[in-house]
């Protein structure tokens, strides 16, 4: 059984279902209470669960995450909301030095089951501080998991998995998708496991690895290539850390060519790591160098003209795919 929901509604439903299922789950963040969050994700939760479990916090990102960690140590499963992923930097230390390291320094005797939800990404005219894609910072920090769904289905299933996971999970919700991505969502308690990619389109000529808001333009580019007789396999990574190496390698064995597409900037973005891993472990399977279509190494500008220049899109992906298959 499934029903049609937006990506945003799917996230809300996951929160509500998890809070009903487990009294240890609670949410905290700025304006998440009666207001229902800056984007409306937590709408209705305050009425259903009350102010002890839907906590309006002061503007204190470090405290929002620190409080979550403290509660997690006592067996709770807090879900912290950053108003925008851009503000996650204000709570950075609590994530990278407290949450990420705790299990290690406790000799494996404790863990920090928190989720930090963060609306990320551009193409909404948000400018420098309302458009960022901070995934690489957290992928780079051992001890953290990083998740970035592209569909309503995955948003729900992955958030449930993140809440039940015993590790700190950075959950990146792409704001461009909030109301634009609509689709079927399972009724009831279905989980999308962390660490497992999804093949969105099969093909034997090239592998395209992507996630988040880049899945749609990637599929459009693949459709264009299909008209030229080239079949591209599009893999939605869904989890960025730990990424699904098995799925990537299986596809590569079939296609021998890989393009990585992400909205994050190029240098030391996830594409750099994927490319390195493939080169190290699957060099013999490659018929072409791993290529990347990414944001250039720059900030997210406010002007529509400037932002359009930076964002990867169907045309840029199509061009890169042509180069890749012609190699």
């Amino acid at each position: 059984m499934s029903k049609e929901l937006s990506y945003l509604e799917a996230i809300r439903e996951a929160l509500a279902e998890e809070m009903r299922r487990d009294p240890k789950v609670f949410v905290l963040g700025e304006d998440v209470g009666p207001y229902g969050g800056a984007f409306g994700v937590t709408q209705g939760l305050y009425d259903e669960f009350g102010e002890m479990r839907v906590v309006d916090t002061p503007i204190s990102e470090s405290a929002i995450i620190g409080v979550s960690i403290g509660a997690a140590l006592r067996g709770y499963r807090p879900v912290a909301e950053m108003q925008f992923a851009d503000f996650i930097s204000c709570g950075f230390d609590q994530i990278v030095n407290q949450a990420a390291t705790l299990r290690y320094r406790y000799g494996g005797r404790a863990s920090v089951p928190i989720v930090v939800r963060a609306p990320s990404g551009g193409n909404v005219g948000g400018g420098l501080y309302h458009s960022q894609n901070p995934e690489a910072w957290f992928i780079h920090r051992p001890g953290l998991k990083v998740v970035a769904p592209s569909t309503a289905w995955d948003a729900k299933g992955l958030l449930k998995a993140a809440i039940r996971d015993d590790n700190p999970v950075v959950f990146l919700e792409h704001k461009y998708l909030y109301r634009r991505a609509k689709g079927p969502v399972p009724e009831g308690d279905e989980i999308v496991p962390i660490g497992v990619a999804a093949t969105r389109r099969e093909g034997a000529d090239a592998t395209l690895l992507t996630y988040g808001a880049m899945v749609t333009p990637s599929l459009e580019a693949a459709d264009r290539l299909a008209k030229e007789g080239v079949e591209v396999e599009v893999i939605d990574l869904r989890t960025l850390m730990p990424f699904d190496k098995a799925a990537i390698f299986a596809s590569l064995d079939k296609t021998n060519r890989v393009l990585v597409v992400h909205e994050d900037v190029k240098t030391l973005g996830l594409g750099a790591e994927l490319s390195a891993v493939i080169m190290e472990e699957k060099f013999d399977a490659l018929d072409a160098p791993v290529l990347r279509v990414t944001y250039p190494d720059t900030h997210a500008p406010f002007s529509h003209v400037l932002e359009a220049f930076n964002l990867p899109n169907t045309d840029k992906i199509t061009a890169a795919l042509r180069t890749l298959v012609a190699y």
């Binding site: 304006d31 420098l128 406010f302 002007s303 930076n310």
Partner: protein, 327 residues
């Protein structure tokens, strides 16, 4: 040290009229922006300070060119008072090359060092440690310039706020901290984000004076800041002035602000800083119908011209998305 609320001052009729002009110009600028957002001409990043103008006028009026301001997101008027042309500020909102960011970012996310304006990012409170850095250089150089740094009551809950005030207190820096307490941080009312009534008392913890004043009375604001500025210039260290006020519009132009009552808004509108000051000026025969009309016409012309200029100004070249990253 004299109580700063009772600092003696005398303003000539022309100065009073100038204050009146600024109050009206700043109000009119924000009102026009609000319309431009509704018309879809300005895309986002508009946080009006309608209702709070007396704070900007009262604090900026006594400043020199060499003094620095570190405004918050509603303080567009402080840019104008410090010498940025209306055309430039309007271009900034339209993301045109003629704006301070040349289209890179909107709103007040840019500054002009030569005019003593530091432009903050979106990160609330992040301007305050930087204000301390600016003030520290004045102290090192033994010049009697000052820094006026603005923040909302919501931003006073960030770590940066506390670190900055502590530093300024320890170093006895020439800074006037201005809290624009408009009662709400987005949807969250004051009492839900701090366990005190007056932000002013936070100063005590850092070893300097804090006072709470009526932020809707331009002369009261002027008087208090004059005292605090004099102290700072004399090397007697920082002061915190909490200006009680109210924001009339939503948090941003998209916010319908259902978290507050119509009665509350009406009550605060009855304390509109502009009519209060108008009555004062008329009673003293500083202002009459002719003078008011002339000022209002000048303002309309200025704003019409700024909009016209910004509309016709060029968009940035797409490739400018990747320039100005390094010196």
């Amino acid at each position: 040290m004299p109580p700063i609320k009772r600092t003696k001052f005398k303003l000539a009729p022309e100065q009073l009229l100038e204050m009146f002009y600024w109050l009206k110009l700043i109000r009119a600028f924000d009102e026009r922006l609000s319309i431009l957002v509704k018309q879809g001409q300005v895309r986002s990043g508009v946080y009006t300070g309608i209702g709070q103008e007396a704070i900007i006028v009262g604090t900026c009026f006594g400043l020199r060119k060499e003094d620095f301001i570190c405004p918050l997101h509603r303080d567009l008027g402080s840019f104008l008072m410090k010498g940025v042309e209306a055309r430039v500020m309007m271009s900034q909102m339209f993301a045109k090359t003629t704006g301070l960011s040349k289209g890179r970012d909107s709103a007040l996310h840019s500054g002009v060092t030569e005019l003593g304006i530091f432009g903050n990012t979106s990160m609330l409170g992040a301007n305050l440690p930087i204000a301390a850095g600016l003030g520290y250089t004045f102290k090192m150089e033994k010049v009697d310039n000052v820094v006026v740094a603005y923040f909302g009551e919501g931003a006073s809950n960030t770590g940066d706020f506390h670190e900055a005030l502590n530093f300024a207190g320890v170093q006895q820096l020439p800074i006037v901290f201005i809290c624009e307490n408009n009662q709400y941080a987005y949807s969250v009312p004051l009492e839900k984000s701090m366990a005190i009534d007056d932000v002013a008392i936070r100063a005590e913890g850092y070893g300097f004076d804090g006072v709470a004043i009526n932020g809707n009375d331009v002369l009261a604001v002027y008087q208090a800041s004059l005292g605090a500025i004099a102290r700072a210039r004399a090397g007697d260290g920082p002061t915190l002035i909490e200006c009680k006020t109210y924001r009339w519009h939503g948090h941003s132009e998209h916010d319908k602000a259902f978290y507050r009552t119509d009665e509350e808004l009406a009550m605060w509108k009855s304390r509109d800083p502009i009519p209060t000051f108008t009555t004062y000026l008329r009673a003293r025969h500083v202002l009459d119908d002719d003078k008011q009309k002339a000022i209002e016409e000048r303002i309309t012309t200025t704003i019409d011209d700024a909009v016209e200029f910004a509309l016709n100004a060029p968009d940035p070249a797409p490739e400018d998305a990747v320039t100005d990253l390094y010196a």
